[in-house]
Each structure stands twice: as C-alpha cells, then as structure tokens.
Symmetry: C4
C-alpha cells in the first residue's frame, strides 16, 4: 500500500538506478573499444586472418568482463529491488561501486595484452584482485542498504532477507580472495573460476530475488 512519501522515495530510487544503469551500460560498451586489429596488419587475406585470430586473448578477456559486468548489474538490480529509499550514505557507497565498475576496462585490457607474456601472473593477479575490490564495494553497499538505523529496506521483508544478502556478499568476497590467491599459481584456473563464480552467484541471487520481493 504505497502512500505519497513512498512514491517520492521510489522515484528517488528510480533515478539512482537509471544513473547506475547508464554507467553499467557505458562501461560494458567501452570494453569493446579495445578490440581492433593492429595498425601494422598486412593487407593480405592471410595477414588479416592471423590478426583476427591472434586477438583471441582479448576476446576472452572481453567476454569474461562483459559477463561479469552483466552479472554485477543483475546483482545491483536485485539489491535495489529490495530498497525503498536513498540516503547520502547509499549514494556514496553506490558511487564507490560505480567508480570501480567504470574502471573494469583497465584491468581487462591489461589482462588481454599481457596474459600470453612473461607478465601473465601480474596481469591475472591485478585482474582478479580488481574484482576483490569490487566485491568489497558490494559488501559496503549491502551493509548500508541493510543497516537497521538507516531504514532503507522495503518494509515487510522477512528478517532473513538482509542476513542472506550480507552472507552471500561475504561468500563472494571470500571466493574472490581465494581466486586472487590462485592467480599467483595458475593463471587459467583463476580466470575460469572467476567467471564461473560470478555466474553461479548471479543465478543464486536471481533465485533469491523473487522470493524476497
């Protein structure tokens, strides 16, 4: 039963969501700017074919980051679907998360460029470590959203919802730290687990979303 105050609050949430969606959408697209055949590519069929196929590490890095941003967007969506209104703390926590999201193209192109070189461990630790930071920002966001004193959650949610939300974020952070540790040992194992984990997590949070709402 929405009253007038609720309608205003929902409009507020809607505008922050729209802004966030814009940033997610542009970040996902900017990834694509990195994909191009080099300027020195020879003008022959064979040369161009080799150049197109030779970009496969960049395709992989782009594919991984694209779906990670998509899954993060879905998680962001789930969290905000539980949120009734916005305060300054939430705006700043969300701002910090968006700050990290728009920079995802940076570790992505670093990974794509260096994953086949001697510097592959540094590139992979940097890439997986970057998602540790993002996971931490998601934890902060969920902490602010679920903080009882702020009263940002939609009323009438079961008491288990904020607990489950926070727990799933802690699990995510722990997994990301473990994957980053793995990156010191095996580059490909770490990258595979990284993508798999976000996928798993998106399904999980998606499955929880409707139940909670």
């Amino acid at each position: 039963m929405p009253d007038l105050a609720d309608t205003t609050a929902e409009k507020e949430t809607g505008r922050l969501e729209a802004f966030s969606d814009g940033v997610f959408g542009v970040a996902i697209t900017l990834l694509a700017l990195e994909i191009a055949v080099g300027h020195g590519t020879p003008d022959t069929d064979l040369g161009l074919q080799q150049a197109i196929f030779g970009l496969w590490p960049k395709y992989l890095a782009f594919f991984a980051s694209f779906f990670q941003i998509l899954f993060m967007w879905m998680a962001h969506h789930t969290i905000f679907s539980l949120t009734r209104r916005v305060n300054t703390e939430l705006m700043l926590a969300n701002g910090l998360l968006l700050f990290l999201v728009v920079l995802v193209p940076f570790p992505t192109k670093t990974l794509g460029e260096f994953v086949l070189t001697e510097a592959r461990h540094t590139a992979t630790v940097f890439y997986t470590g970057y998602f540790v930071l993002i996971s931490a920002a998601f934890n902060l966001l969920v902490f602010v959203v679920a903080h009882p004193a702020y009263g940002l959650l939609r009323p009438g949610l079961p008491a288990t919802v904020p607990t489950a939300l926070k727990r799933s974020q802690w699990v995510g952070l722990a997994c990301n730290v473990a994957i980053m540790g793995l990156a010191f040992v095996s580059v490909w194992l770490a990258l595979g687990l990284s993508t798999a984990m976000w996928g798993y997590w998106a399904f999980l949070s998606k499955a929880k979303g409707p139940k909670a709402a």
Copy 2:
C-alpha cells in the same frame, strides 16, 4: 486486464529494455569514432578534400552497420513487445546478443579498412560471418521467449505468433549464411544483399508487430 503481478513483470521487462536500448545506442554511436582524416593529411584544400573523399569505404561500412544496428534494435523492440516477463534464461540470451552487438564496431572498422585491399575477401567474410553469429543469437533469444515452459509471452497472443517469430528468425539465419558464402565470391554483392536483407526483415517484422500486439 493487468493485475499486480503483471505490473511488476512489466516494470522488470521495461528495465531490461532500457538497459538494452542503452547498449544499442552507445554501440551505434561508437561506430562513429572510427571516422577521422588521418594524422598525416596535408594542410591544403586539395589534400583535405582528397582525405575526406578517400574515406568513402569507411562511410559505407559505417552506414551499413548503423542501419543494421538500427534494424536489430527494431527487431529487439518487436520481440520484447510480445514479452510479459523476464527470467534468468532470457537475461542470459539477451546478454549474449548485447555482447555481440557492442562488438559490431570491430568487424565494421575491419571492413572499412580492408575492403579496398588484397584482404577484402577475409574482411567481408568476417563482416558477414559476424552477422551470422548475431542472427544465431537472435534465434536463441526467440527460442527462449517462445519456449512454452517459461511462459514469457504475453497471454492472449494468437498461437501463430511464436511460430511466425521463430520462422522469420530461421529465415534470417539462412539468408545470413548464404550471404557469407557469397562473400567468398563477390564482396560487393554480399555487402549489398546484407544491408538489403536486414531492411526487408525490419519491414516484415514491423508489419507483423502491430498485428501480433
């Protein structure tokens, strides 16, 4: 007769559409980044004129891709106008399609750069082959939308709608494969047919849209 559940579902669909629109819109714009006169252009009227006119293969490639993205956006729009709610499968199928859409600038600039060189067959096969992939992603999207077990279609649609939707996508895929085959033989014929086909298809799906809705 929308009830409360329908309203929530429509909001959901609306947000995914808005996100997709954002990605389509940015992808269409990023195409334009490739168009510029080279750094070595002489500072004379004649030199600049030659540089501006000399970019015509890039203009053509950009024109073709711009309208193909626009037509894809229209098709995407038609499909979602028949959709009542979103599930995880639809989100992933849509994500895969958007992944391919944001990368359209890559085959486009490859085509624009190499269509006048010895590597023109590779560039054209790559470009037309890329739209085979996109066509396959559209088939997957329509398969998910029309899958009876998911119940994503708007209720009350005639039984012919999902069938027509899927058939038009299969025809599109077949045409794209044929055009890609043609690209091995004639570059210009393949490019002309590619643009013409999407235009035809957009009109067709547009004509079907209102009837279905």
Copy 3:
C-alpha cells in the same frame, strides 16, 4: 482524452524519443574526446600554458557543435511533442537524422584541426555543408510527421501547425545552403552565422512549441 490505443502509441513514441535522446547525449559527449594537449607537449609551465591556449580553435569548434547538437535536440523534442504515434517511415527518417547526428564529431574535429591552416576553406565548407545535410534530414522528418496520409500528428492540432513546422524547416535549409555558400568566401562569417542561426531557430521553434501543444 487519451484512450487505450493512444496510451500504447505514446509509449511507442516515448521509447523512440528515449533512444534518440541517448544518441544525442552520447554524440554531444563524444565531441569532448577530441580535446587534449598533444603528446609532445613540453613538461614546463610555459609549454603547457601554450599547449592549453593553443587549442582555442578546437574549443571554438567544440562549442559551436555542442550547442548545435543541443539546439537540434530541442527541435527534435518539439517535433516529437506534436507526434502521437510512430510508423516505419518515421523510424527510418529518424534513423537517417540520428545517423548524421552521431557523425557531427567528424566535421567538428576536421574544422578544429584545419581552420587555421591553408585548408580552412575546405574544412569550413565541409562543416557548414554537413549541416545542410542535417537540415535536409530534418525536412524529411517533418515531411513524414506532417504527411496527412500517415496520421502521425496529435489530433486536435490547429491546421497551421504542420504548415508552420514545414516552413520553418525550409527556411532553415535555405539559410544553411546560404551559409555554406558564404564559407567559400569568408570562413569566420560563415561559422558565426551558422551558430547564430541555429540559436535563433531554437528560440523560434521553442516559442512555437507551447502554442502548438
């Protein structure tokens, strides 16, 4: 008195407007990518100051194009505020206009780079000629919107509205052609008039907007 059909039609218009807004917004922003001090700038206060001030032709070109896109957005807004529904012809005419809008950064950076060189006449004719093309696309858009057989205009508008709309677009096109002619003679006069005219026209169409609506 909106009935159900009108509501659906307005939603349709709304989505096309949102897509167009996105393209206008991104095009306006992409202009800014061109503004940067060169890589060879000396690392001294004097060197950096000279580099920052030396970019003034680019600032001017960016300023002119920014406000021309903004005024075009306002004109686009006025035209769509008179439109009740969308058909395929309108989508294609709008697509052609957006195609030209996203490429505005191209003549803009060409102007900014060459307006102080021997090639300034070519650069200015290209820049002003580009807005002749845009003006022609606006004429096509207004022709489609006001075409009686399509019935796209909102009902109840005075009969003078479509006439006034079309006349103002013809005047705009004539002015742009005259300015392009002038660019063969005087670069600065043409550029000044070009910006002034769009401003004048935006005010005019804005003043007409509310009356019509």
Copy 4:
C-alpha cells in the same frame, strides 16, 4: 495537488533531467578511457607492476574528478527537484553547465599527466580554475531557477529556499576561487581542499534538499 498543466510541466522537467543524467553518466565514464598502461611497457612481471603502480597520479586525478562529477550530479538533482517547469533560459543555462561537465576529462587528464612534472602549477591552476567555471555555471543555473519573473520553482516552497540555494552557490564559487589561488602556491593542498569542499557541499545541499522538498 497536481493539475494537468503541472503534469505536462513535470514531464518536461523529467526529460531534461534524463538528458542531463545521460551526459553526466557518459562524462563520468569517459574519464576512465585515460587509464591504461603505456604501449612501451615491458612484458615482465616487474615491468608491468611498475607500470600499474606508476599510474597513481592518473588514479588520483580520476578519483577526484569522478566524485566531483558525482557530487555535481547530486547538486543538479537537488536543484531540479525544486523546479516545476522548464523555459528556454533554463535550457540554455543547463546546456552551458553540461558543456563544461563533458569537458571535465580534459583538465583531468592534463592534471594526471603533468602533476609530477615541472608544469604541475599550470596543470593544477588549470584544473582548479576549471571548477571555478563550473561553479559560475551552477550560479547561473540557480539564478535562472530562482528568478521570480520566470516562476520555475515549485509552488509552496518556503521563501528561504531560493535564498539558501543562491547563497550556497556563492559560497561554492568563493571557495573555488580561493582554492585556485592556493594552487599557485601548493599543488597538493589545493587538490585536497578541492575534493573535500565538493564533498562537504554535497552533504550540505543533500541535507537541505529533503527539508526544502
């Protein structure tokens, strides 16, 4: 108690806000394009590590500008939440502000490139001076919004609201001028104060927002 005219006016405001949000969102994202390891980075763990850590002035400049744009977006949001309708003067004042916002990446990358060189004073004066310009544009926007003859403010607001709005903008402008003066003396003090001030001001205007609304 909204009547029909108010609804139309609010839709108008909403569209301008959406367009502005888009420009803010893209500007914030374009900042990220500057962050990349150089092309000459050696392909070794140590070389890549040094390259990643060596970018810290760019991270700092990006961080500062990201949050300044975010705080400006929040201020813009507060101002428009007090606004009932749009006129041409407001559109132009808003256009001028957006023009400056989309160019924030330019002083940001100049700062990030030169803050560790001999040219650091010029870079910092340019960066802080740029926010003097933005502050001036905000003053103009608030002047237009609060101008009694235009009647743009929402009815029923206490008489103290426009006064407070204008005063807080004058204070902001004065602070920015002082910080720019400081940049001639101490680069780091000026940059620290610049970020701190916008943060403080965002909190202040946020705190005032709900009271006024």
